[in-house]
Amino acid sequence: MTQTLPQALLLQARTRGTKTALRYKRLGIWQARSWSEVATDVSRLAAALQQLGFSRGDDLLIISQARAEALLLALAAQWLGGSVTLLDPELDNRPLLVRLNPAFVLAEALDSVQQIRDIDQPPRVLLYLDGRGLNAGDDHGLSGYAELFTRIIADAPEPVTEAAATAFVFHPADGQPRPLSHGQLLEGARKLITRESLSAGEEALAARVFAASGQARYLLAPWLSAGFCLNFPEALATRDTDRRELGPTLVLGTRESYARLEHWARERLPLPGTLSHRLYRWAMAPDAQLFRRWIGYWLIRRPLLDVLGMSRLRVPLLVGPALSQESAAFFGALGIHPGSWQEPSVLREPAQAPAHLISHSV
């Protein structure tokens, strides 16, 4: 019985070590990491973090888009019994940073490092994923993520076992830090898995940013518990084509992200007045009789689903408020009904979170 995320990870590594855990695009092709590889990476990162002085109770602050590296380092921090604070690099986190005054920071790139530099008291450890335009030296304790692997001397300790230990801390704009324990996360994950009958065969699409709590609870925790594959798009600019290549079976989105995708599709639809536009209308009409549904499916809906990268989509998740009328109609016509999934305990949480804090994941 696994109590914590790192334990869940180790369990996956033991039970289906060779299966793919992560998939991301590097150097132009899709790279896959198996569960056992991920487990080793995390344990080594944990060892490295420990050498840097990170220990139980410490907090690792991550300002990054959804990137495999960020995810692994987060798990490493939790392995050591520490907690992780996730921030959205797109936002201006300076006020928050001044308040938190973090000791351990992973910043994705120059602009997020800039945000850190503005804190009068620099962090003990400042790691970066992407060194473009940074020159080491002018920041105290600045070092690259890659370097972590190079200077490991000791092995990592056994991972944390207390289910009560805090895994993530989220900072909504209302100021109340909202901690999430390993226990809560795994519990929520189990609920989700049974409700949506998630299997290890799912192909999940990872969020753009982890910053919103929904990410951690409905994607990361289930990923570790169910042991499916987590896919990362190569870049923001290419996420839609990447989604099509990946063809995920599980996506997690918010009202905004579904709306974004809907608009992306709508502005590319055939122009009104053209024959293909009429065909589209005809095929998308709700409650048509069988024959028409069948034709419409093969001529329009099936190809459209494929272009949207949803032809294999099985579980469309939604955090936060329900979809807008037209989004619901659009995806409904395609047979996609993003169900809202919320735990009683934190029923109003996502709704409260201001829009700018809600991640865009689809």
Partner: protein, 266 residues
């Protein structure tokens, strides 16, 4: 900052060049140290581009000699220059319009090929493995310069700033020792300029590439370069560190002043 050694990589000796009797360059000499970033500045028509063209053999100087990496050559063809590790970009982008970003970058690596065209045509022998290596290196450059989202796009369809970057990538793909950049930031907005400056600095630091560049933006030059050479009407009127050049009265008179007024005119 970059690791500047004392060894001289490139030395121009009394170079003169003229087209149909019109003097473009008059007896210019200067030296570029290994690992430094050197800027050629000067008003339009000062002969900066022509000088680059002499360095990598597009033009043949009427008199004077270019010594590079210890060897002195009277005349050198462009592809010889490339074989000896000189890569460059052009003032008005000289990309291969009919090809994708990736293909453009790959052409930059044509000198690293060992397998014959027959092997490549039949996809036999070392060709496939070599294709992989070529692609891998090209991709590292593409990611280094952050153009991976446009990998498969025809360069003609890209924005001006991106095209400049692709051209830089193509030059970089050849793993050059000396990189000649002809106005790498011309026509860019402030943001693109800072980006490009970072790229050049990082190239110089991470690949140890020596860079000679032509740039009009004095701010950029002073911030980026270790060594500045000032030309005016085909003559050298200043040569030294940014500070020295800034102090040089002749330069201020002949160049900075005019630039200022021009800059204000913009």
């Amino acid at each position: 900052m970059s690791a500047i050694t004392e060894s001289v990589l490139l030395r121009l000796d009394d170079i003169s060049l003229s087209f149909k009797g019109v003097k473009a360059i008059t007896s210019i000499s200067f030296a570029v140290k290994t690992g430094e970033i050197c800027a050629l500045i000067g008003p339009n028509g000062a002969g900066k581009s022509s000088l680059l063209n002499v360095i990598n053999g597009v033009y043949q100087a009427q008199s004077g000699s270019v010594s590079y990496a210890g060897q002195t050559r009277r005349r050198m063809r462009p592809h010889q220059a490339a074989e000896r590790g000189i890569a460059r970009t052009f003032q008005n982008i000289a990309l291969f319009k009919g090809m994708s970003v990736l293909d453009n970058v790959l052409t930059g690596r044509n000198l690293k090929r060992r397998s014959s065209w027959v092997e490549q045509m039949l996809r036999l022998g070392r060709a496939p493995r070599e294709d992989d290596e070529q692609r891998r290196y090209a991709e590292t450059i593409i990611e280094f310069l952050r153009i991976h989202p446009w990998r498969h796009v025809l360069v003609g369809k890209l924005s001006y700033g991106l095209q400049k970057r692709v051209e830089l990538a193509r030059a970089l793909a050849a793993e050059p020792t000396l990189l000649l950049l002809d106005e790498p930031m011309a026509g860019m907005n402030a943001e693109e300029k800072t980006e490009m400056t970072q790229f050049i600095r990082d190239i110089n630091r991470e690949f140890g590439t020596t860079v000679v560049l032509i740039e009009h933006d004095i701010g950029v030059v002073m911030g980026l370069c270790d060594h500045v050479v000032v030309l005016d009407y085909g003559r050298k009127i200043g040569d030294g560190t940014p500070e020295q050049v800034r102090a040089n009265p002749e330069v201020i008179a002949a160049y900075l002043g005019t630039r200022r007024s021009r800059a204000e005119a913009r």
